[in-house]
């Protein structure tokens, strides 16, 4: 478990701010103990200091995961958020989108969300804003990037893409091996 380098920390936070904005501060500055980001095999884990101390007793080779995996750095040094980060992203995300039950399955198979599947969307969502996707019963099922602003959505045709798919909880089944 390495400490993230300065550059990587920046890249990580830039990505996170796309989804949860200033709320990233809440992740770093928590009242219930200190939490930190650590890197292992290019994967970034969000872990409490206490647990980290315990996890450090385990040899790096034998340590599989500790805390919550947020995502990984690609070979081109970009950060890619994994669906596993949803636990922390969903409650903090200012922009959300709700999909109709009929479109849930589509999204869970890794497709973009089209206008016809759109149930609700947060007002004033800007373009290319990271959004959390929820079912109509408020279960977060993934996140993506808004392809259109809220205003544009209204006038878009039914087949137009509203949200670009980034990650969905179907990946727990589809790509269990590569998740962490």
């Amino acid at each position: 478990m390495k400490v993230l380098s300065e550059e990587r920390t920046r890249i990580l936070f830039e990505k996170l701010t796309k989804y949860i904005g200033v709320n990233v501060k809440l992740l770093i500055d928590r009242p219930d103990g200190t939490y930190c980001f650590r890197e292992k095999k290019d994967r970034v884990y969000y872990i409490s200091e206490k647990l980290l101390h315990l996890a450090q007793t385990v040899k790096p080779d034998n340590l599989i995961a500790a805390g919550t995996c947020f995502g990984k750095f690609t070979k081109t040094n970009k950060f890619r958020l994994h669906i596993t980060a949803l636990t922390y992203i969903a409650p903090y995300a200012p922009f959300k989108i709700w999909v109709k039950p009929s479109a849930e399955q589509q999204f869970l198979y890794g497709h973009h969300i089209i206008k016809s599947g759109l149930g609700r969307i947060t007002e004033n969502t800007p373009k290319h804003q990271g959004v959390v996707v929820q079912t109509m019963s408020d279960i977060p099922i993934g996140f993506g990037v808004a392809a259109r602003t809220t205003a544009e959505c209204r006038s878009a045709d039914p087949l137009a893409t509203i949200v670009f798919h980034q990650a969905d909880i179907g990946e727990y089944i589809r790509s269990e091996d590569t998740l962490t």
């Binding site: 340590l63 599989i64 909880i169 790509s175 269990e176 998740l179």
Partner: protein
């Protein structure tokens, strides 16, 4: 290039027709160009990705197809149900009806069969039909046939057997006085049933109130039809097998089995014979022959290998065995566990019902379990599942975690965690506080753990990949440890039928050796001084005592642990004796679960409490036979308490002898080599110096004194008595012997009383010995106080003790005396004989 190109002037290239390869030899390559052909080319990262993708696509496609098929089937089923209820399978209906919120009913769905029949009977009575003699006969036969499934008392079964017996008599036209007796028996049975019947009727009535008259009529009609069908079947069977008493098949018959039905029939017959052997046996046949026949038939009918079947026969009585085998053929209902980190059971149930899932709470004993009867959607791929609101988990898997009873802010270890069901359950109970270590030896399977943890929102976990046996070297001091050990899986035959044929003695041996080591490692990982915990839960999905009670018993002897109640209010008690083994009586506190009685996978749960971090001296006894000479280090626990030092110094003198001695005391019917060892040992003992002896005697007394004080701590009063009794016996023995015993006493932190027993013991003696374990194990802690005790107190205590012993001397002395006489002689005799 070119056909006749001359790369080398010195070489002449042939002209004319012919194959090129003949005319021009292959080019010569530089050496450095030649590759090692041993190395296989690695796939590039991209290639791997692509391959994985391809494989996944394929799998997805198959899964999709499957789910589609399933969905279609389900839809079809529903349609069927709606359109024509009459066609609906009776058993199906039974299933759905059978599961209610009520715990008991869910746990024992098998019993449903009985009330139903009674219902039908009652109906007959209602309608005022005077059933003919013949019909009653068939009824009785019917019951006899179904008795394999029944779990009721013996009486009931015997009654039905009698029925059959007498019926056949009647058919022969002999009306004997027995007949009357039988009739009365029947009456009894009927009266019994009528009570139950009335209960059932009440329920029925309630149901009936809700139904329309047409429906009622329909149900009645159905029942009648069923009854008639059954009767017809019975008649057929009776005609086919009109044997009065089961005739033992001839050799030829055995060699050429005709059909599975015949075999099944034979199994039933043999079971009936065995249940009342004296009356029903064929002249000149021994019980052995019958059991052998049964074994063979069961093997063929249920396709087990003979070894496993033999083992199973030793675990269960015959009738229960058949029930178990039947139950092992049927899959258990799908159960899911609500993830209390993310949702509540009621909300989840509502959400799933909205998706077309038919479910019920698993029972009163669990607040998070749900049973799924049928579903129109794949239960493992709903958005709720993916969002981590529940996990697919067998009902039996809840038990070890419930037994573990984790508390918030504890540090807990799950030693064999994959795929993470139980571990996530622990995390859910801890509400994501504290720290959870989920370990698994298989790196591939840890991926599943990680996936499940993230899906279920477990954030306090560390997933690691160690061999569980090495875990104490990594980190210790856990408040609680869960060890769901890898096992042969004899409890989950329904899930994996390959167990039936693939397991043999070696597999089992391998399993329990591993389990023992794992359990010891688990105990070492646990911290006895934890304010909230110090508990270890050991569970397996096997029902073999070798992998369960024996393993726990082994750990009891080798570590400072004791069994505590599991906190599960159902399940059968663990075995205290099995074949030649006699386990510690506290093994009653463990729980066993069977598919046929509890309708969950076969399971075993034991909860241990660690009361000292000291690791006792390793020793060798019967349990070690299979093990390699590998031994735990004599070092004491990591905590390095002062008392541990005391212990080691105390015992150092005797360490040499310990291993040998223990082996002598082995509770097994001692094997020959052990007996040989025995002798020289006895000779050795007197050699110790007198000085030593005196000291030892003193210490011994002290210890015993303290032991008595600790009575409350020790688990049973009986065990205490035993120790003192043994002590008395010892006193009576010669001085030589006492010295020996004293030595042992001192040495044995863990189970000093053991050595007090004579060298050779009958297996029956074992419990006594084991009994004494827990109290004596506390010696090390007592040693701490040693210094404080003044000489006066010491002397007084010793006096008191002596008095006590004298009282009890007589009783046990006799027994002991006998043994002492007998044993050495035997040993000598045997030796002579051998020579």
């Amino acid at each position: 290039m070119g056909r006749k190109a001359k790369f080398d002037e010195t070489k002449k290239v042939k002209k004319g027709p012919g194959r090129k390869a003949r005319k021009q030899p292959d080019p010569v390559f530089k050496k450095e160009l030649l590759e090692d052909d041993t190395e296989t080319k690695k796939l590039t990262h991209r290639q791997k990705q692509r391959a994985a993708k391809r494989a996944k696509k394929k799998a997805d496609l198959i899964e999709k197809k499957k789910s589609l098929k399933l969905a279609k089937k389900n839809v079809a089923k529903q349609n069927e149900k709606v359109i024509s209820e009459e066609i609906a399978d009776a058993s199906d209906e039974e299933n759905v009806k059978g599961f209610t919120d009520d715990n008991k009913q869910w746990l024992k769905p098998k019993q449903k069969a009985k009330p139903k029949k009674q219902e039908s009977e009652s109906e007959e009575a209602d309608s005022g039909h005077e059933e003919s003699e013949m019909e009653q006969d068939s009824d009785a036969a019917d019951e006899e046939e179904e008795e394999g499934v029944k779990t009721d008392g013996e009486k009931y079964k015997v009654g039905t057997l009698d029925d059959l017996f007498q019926d056949s008599d009647q058919e022969n036209g002999d009306v004997t006085s027995e007949d009357e007796g039988q009739a009365s028996a029947k009456m009894d049975y009927n009266s019994d049933s009528s009570e139950e019947k009335s209960d059932d009727d009440d329920e029925e009535d309630k149901d009936d109130d809700d139904m329309l008259p047409i429906e009622k009529a329909n149900i009645k009609l159905k029942k009648k039809q069923k009854l008639e069908k059954k009767l017809a079947d019975e008649e057929m069977q009776l005609n086919i097998a009109k044997q009065d008493v089961f005739a033992f098949p001839s050799e030829e018959e055995l060699e050429n089995p005709t059909s599975l039905q015949d075999v099944h029939q034979r199994i039933k017959d043999v079971v009936t014979v065995l249940s009342d052997f004296n009356r029903l046996k064929e002249e000149g046949r021994s019980r052995c022959e019958y059991t052998d026949l049964l074994l063979k038939d069961l093997c063929t009918y249920y396709s087990y290998n003979e070894f496993l079947m033999e083992v199973l026969m030793q675990i269960f009585p015959v009738q229960e065995l058949v029930e178990f085998l039947e139950a092992s053929e049927i899959a258990r209902p799908v159960t899911i566990r609500t993830n209390s980190l993310k949702t509540r059971r009621r909300d989840l149930a509502q959400a799933l019902i909205n998706r077309g899932v038919n479910l019920d709470p698993v029972g009163k004993w669990s607040k998070v379990g749900l049973v799924v009867y049928s579903s129109t959607v794949p239960i493992g791929a709903t958005p709720e599942y993916l969002a981590g609101h529940y996990i697919l988990q067998g009902a039996s898997s809840f038990l070890p975690v419930m037994a573990l009873a984790p508390q918030e802010n504890e540090r807990i270890l799950d030693m064999c965690a994959a795929p993470g069901g139980k571990a996530s359950h622990i995390a859910a109970i801890m509400k994501n506080t504290g720290a959870l270590f989920a370990n698994d030896a298989n790196k591939e399977r840890t991926k599943a753990v990680v996936g499940n943890f993230h899906r279920l929102g477990v954030v306090n976990a560390v997933v690691c990949n160690y061999d569980g046996r090495q875990f104490p070297d990594v980190i210790k001091g856990f408040d609680r440890v869960l060890l769901d050990a890898p096992c042969t899986g004899t409890g989950v035959i329904a899930k994996d039928p390959s167990v039936k044929t693939t397991k043999d003695q070696k597999d089992i041996q391998r399993c329990f050796n591993l389990q023992r080591q794992l359990l010891l490692a688990a105990i070492d990982c646990c911290n006895a001084k934890s304010s909230t915990g110090g508990y270890i839960v050991y569970s397996t999905c096997s029902i073999l005592p070798e992998e369960n009670e024996w393993v726990v018993n082994y750990a009891l002897k080798r570590r400072n642990v004791k069994l505590v109640p599991t906190g599960l209010d159902f399940g059968t008690e663990g075995f205290v004796k099995y074949r030649q083994h006699r386990f510690h009586p506290s093994l009653k506190l463990t729980r066993r679960f069977y598919p046929h009685t509890h309708n969950m996978d076969g399971f075993f749960v034991a909860k241990l409490k660690k009361f000292s971090n000291v690791i006792p001296e390793p020793f060798k006894d019967e349990d070690d036979e299979e093990e390699a000479e590998k031994k735990e280090t004599t070092e004491t626990a990591q905590n390095g308490e002062s008392e541990s030092e005391n212990v080691t110094t105390d015992s150092k003198q005797d360490i040499k002898n310990t291993s040998v001695k223990r082996s002598i005391e082995s509770t097994n019917p001692t094997t020959e080599p052990q007996k040989k060892k025995n002798k020289p040992d006895i000779q050795k003992r007197p050699e110790t110096t007198a000085n030593n002896e005196n000291q030892q005697i003193k210490k011994n007394k002290k210890k015993r004194n303290r032991k008595n004080k600790n009575k409350q701590n020790s688990d049973t009063a009986g065990s205490k008595q035993n120790t003192s009794q043994n002590g008395a016996a010892k006193n009576e023995q010669t001085s030589q012997k006492t010295t020996k015993v004293n030595k042992k006493d001192k040495k044995g932190n863990e189970d000093s009383p053991k050595p007090q027993q004579p060298a050779k013991q009958s297996p029956g003696k074992k419990p006594n010995k084991v009994n004494k374990n827990p109290p004596t194990t506390q010696n090390p802690t007592q040693n701490k106080n040693e210094g404080k005790i003044t000489n006066k107190v010491e002397i007084e205590a010793s006096k008191k003790l002596k008095n006590k012993f004298n009282k009890k001397k007589k009783q046990i002395g006799q027994i002991k005396g006998d043994k002492d006489k007998g044993n050495p002689k035997q040993g000598v005799n045997k030796k002579f004989k051998k020579k």
